[in-house]
């Protein structure tokens, strides 16, 4: 195997392992559109990073974190429904990002690269960063898992029982913004949220507890990363989209399995 392909494989598998458990919470807490809006802010980060000639990954991370904080603050208002607010912010961020990148002088910016990602261009420092992020995400989830789960099940019940609801929510949202920024590096802004939610969707019909669902999601995400990259290499297909299609295949299979199982349960 070529070294660039090994790096791509490691990056895709690493991202799969990081994103899948968080993706379960995104599904449970119905935050897919929230995440999508954060992802769209990344293009502004790219433009800012290029304009200031600073580290692009750092610029994207800062921008997604800033967007997450802004959305958390805006969610408190009661004038506009939250989904309309997210829709507004989503398109404003995208429009601003496109305007900002169009104004940059110098070498042409590869906007497509940021919208769809380029996992085959992942460098060794990128891998080191992913590994560090994996440690940070799993370390945080280790103490955040139970309060976050209780919050997702019933936030008032959790608060009455002494869970620090507000703090848990903020830490989770910041963690989510960080993982979205990393996913953008691998699969691009348009497909980042797919990496979070599709494995969780595929895992749901197979699971009876939150923990098994997270395990299935990780497994499905890793298998999809490998299968998608293999497809992309064998048939010369774009890599990020190939991984997403592989994930969708698992999701379809799992839903068909669930509906067949529930039919046999009814007839037997």
């Amino acid at each position: 195997m070529e070294p660039f392909f090994v790096r791509a494989l490691l990056a895709a598998i690493g991202l799969a392992i990081i994103a899948a458990p968080l993706g379960c919470f995104v599904v449970w807490r119905r935050m897919a559109y929230f995440g999508e809006t954060i992802a769209q802010a990344s293009l502004i980060g790219v433009a800012a990073g290029l304009a200031l000639q600073s580290n692009l990954t750092l610029a994207v991370v800062l921008m997604t974190l800033a967007m997450a904080v802004m959305l958390m603050a805006l969610e408190r208002q009661r004038i506009v429904p939250v989904d309309s607010l997210l829709g507004t912010m989503h398109y404003v961020a995208l429009a601003l990002g496109i305007i900002a990148t169009s104004q940059l002088s110098g070498p042409t910016v590869n906007v497509m690269g940021f919208l769809f990602g380029d996992v085959l261009a992942v460098s060794t420092p990128d891998l080191v960063m992913l590994a560090a992020a994996a440690v940070a995400v799993y370390g945080t989830l280790y103490w955040l898992w139970e309060p976050l789960l209780r919050l997702s099940i019933h936030s008032d019940l959790a608060a009455a029982e002494g869970v620090a609801v507000q703090r848990t929510r903020i830490v989770f949202t910041l963690l989510l913004a960080l993982v979205i920024a990393l996913a953008i590096k691998v699969v691009g802004a348009l497909l980042a949220i797919a990496f979070l939610i599709i494995p969780a969707v595929a895992a749901r019909p197979l699971s009876r507890t939150p923990e098994t669902m997270a395990m299935f999601a990780i497994g499905i995400a890793v298998l999809s990363a490998v299968a998608g990259l293999y497809l992309s290499a064998a048939y010369d297909l774009p890599s990020g989209p190939s991984i997403v299609v592989a994930m969708a295949g698992f999701a379809l299979g799992s839903m068909v399995y669930a509906s067949v199982r529930s039919k046999t349960a009814l007839t037997s």
Binding site: E146, S152, A159, T212
Partner: protein, 289 residues
Amino acid sequence: MIQDGGQLTAHPHVHGPNCNHGSPVPPAPANALISGHGVSVSRNGRALIENVSLSIAAGEILTLIGPNGAGKSTLVRALLGLEPLTSGRIERKPGVRIGYVPQRFDLDPTIPLTVNRFLALGTSSGTGTWEMSATLGEVGAPHLLRAEVSRLSGGELQRVLLARALLHKPDLLVLDEPVRGLDHLGEAAMYDLISAVRDARGTAILLVSHDLNLVMAKTDRVLCLNRHVCCSGRPEAVAAHPAYAQLFGPEAARAFAVYTHHHDHTHDATGAPVPQPASKPAVKSLTKN
């Protein structure tokens, strides 16, 4: 235990022709598990509850009644620390343990959750399967340990929520409309279960109900809320109070009185209650007519 006995405690401010005025809210008794003092909550400039004082003593059942929009859930949430107070204060006995059953529990079906996983969440790590099974048995749902929470019926879900609250070994159970969504038979069974839990464990219970005819016979005290405390006292005293009749209509007052008198106790010549042997209330008496 029952701090204001059979006497009525009227709210301390003027609001209408049918409430008593002037008698100040008594200070919380020394054995109060939790008490609120002049609690007010408003949201967007609109008062939800105003100047409410109450206390719950160890082992007593206090039922909170009031029409829709009276602020019952707001008061409960304020007592639990879920609602910021505009004024007043909440006092909890140090170390008091509270079990809470919220009014609504709509589990998102995307969360896979079995009853045993749900029961284990947040309870001490030593809570084993045996204890969970025993507690489910206590609430009449021993077969549900492996069931999926999102597939439970309304009555089953209430029992599982009650079991979960009991696993926290509470000194006080806060049950916000525990008969919500149950039919009359289910309601009667749930009220029987709640008083059985009190008798077996000595747990104090704060019960919220909007169904005035069905306030359980074993309630020690009733607090009638309509944003402020309209009146409070023993069930039969509240039912006879003009403020109660004004809020809910004389029909409701009569039905309520009939229920308490016929299914819990009779009265002797002096008017003091005489307990009757426990018997299942007939379904007919639970309906309004």
